[in-house]
């Protein structure tokens, strides 16, 4: 009779070899959704990222929110756009480089403007941090 240990069951479900296909699908869909989400704010980039829009002073944000990050000078905004869509391209077409990706951008979006970052933004931030550490370089 084959003996099955608790640890073997746990290994089957929690750790050990898994097909990377589902993970890869999640990563692609998650990235596409994030680009859509950021793209909507990018319809008005100056209001969102520079001092042209109204941004709450430090100490006036909701409790539990991140301390505010510095706003961008206008000339940095195109660089931000290139970095954003460049990171999307990396996840899609050069997944072995994706550790360079999105976590920082999602965190910056959370801190720079709490008024346009809601729960979804926190989910993207946490999701990309997990993708940053995720195995599966071979995909």
């Amino acid at each position: 009779m084959k003996r099955v240990s608790v640890m073997m069951i746990a290994r089957c479900h929690l750790v050990g070899e898994q097909s990377v296909a589902r993970f890869r699908l999640f990563e692609l869909v998650f990235t596409a959704a994030f680009l859509l989400y950021m793209g909507r704010n990018l319809l008005h980039p100056m209001e969102w990222l520079t001092s042209e829009g109204f941004h709450l002073a430090e100490g006036l944000q909701r409790p539990n929110s991140l301390p505010p990050f510095p706003l961008m000078p206008v000339w940095v905004v195109p660089i931000f756009v290139v970095a954003l869509f460049g990171s999307g391209w990396i996840v899609g077409f050069r997944p072995q480089w994706r550790r360079l990706g999105f976590a920082a951008l999602a965190l910056y979006a959370e801190g720079v403007d709490s008024a346009s970052a809601f729960a979804l933004n926190k989910i993207y931030g946490a999701g990309f941090i997990f993708l940053l550490f995720a195995p599966g370089d071979e995909v």
């Binding site: 909507r40 704010n41 008005h44 969102w48 002073a57």
Partner: protein, 199 residues
């Protein structure tokens, strides 16, 4: 199938499995335990914890009996003291909340008892200076006032037969629904204009 508890920790982990375990611990530390902590489960008795879980699961366990929102009005130079409603979409294009802009989201902070006065002052100053830039031929803002409207659910004024939901016009709602939260005058953004809002 026989579950052999003595083999629980049998054998060393492979390097790969050890890596997986590290990811599992990271997940527990940085995702699962913050979620538990924020939901209050870790600070409560079992009975309370069950109630909290039920509330979190059901999300809305009480009937909402009033629907509240904020309005911003302004007095202009030469406007004979009339209050005119400001459309926040004239000043902000980022529509993050359906048909509402991020300024509508910031208005929620303007009603806070602690941070509200400073938020209202900064926002009124910003509205005055942005109004001057965007509508140079319009008279200047002299005063900005913030109102909170609380409408009882079920009122005729809240029901719209088709199209997306819009708030009833302020002039049409009964005065007892409306509460003034604060007024900021141009003395607070006069010639020595300075703001604590981030530049």
């Amino acid at each position: 199938m026989v579950i052999d508890a003595s083999a629980l920790m049998g054998g060393w982990f492979s390097r790969r499995e050890l890596g997986d375990a590290v990811y599992g611990i990271l997940f527990l530390l940085f995702w699962f335990s913050p979620v538990l902590t924020n939901s209050g489960v870790l600070h409560s008795s079992h009975q309370r914890s069950f109630v909290l879980h039920a509330q979190i699961t059901h999300l809305f366990t009480r009937r909402v009996d009033a629907w509240a929102w904020f309005e911003v009005q302004a007095r202009f130079s030469g406007g004979e003291g009339r209050w005119i409603a400001l459309r926040l979409s004239d000043y902000s294009g980022v529509q993050n909340y359906g048909y509402l802009t991020r300024l509508d989201r910031i208005l929620d902070e303007a009603g806070s008892p602690e941070r509200g006065p400073a938020v209202r002052r900064d926002l009124a100053r910003w509205l005055a200076s942005t109004h001057g830039k965007r509508f140079p031929e319009s008279p200047a803002l002299r005063e900005v006032r913030f109102l909170r409207v609380a409408a009882p659910v079920g009122s005729e004024l809240l029901s719209k037969p088709r199209g997306h939901w819009v708030r009833p016009v302020l002039e049409s709602v009964p005065m007892e629904w409306v509460r003034e939260i604060g007024v900021v005058t141009d003395r607070e953004w006069g010639p020595t204009f300075s703001t604590s809002a981030r530049q």
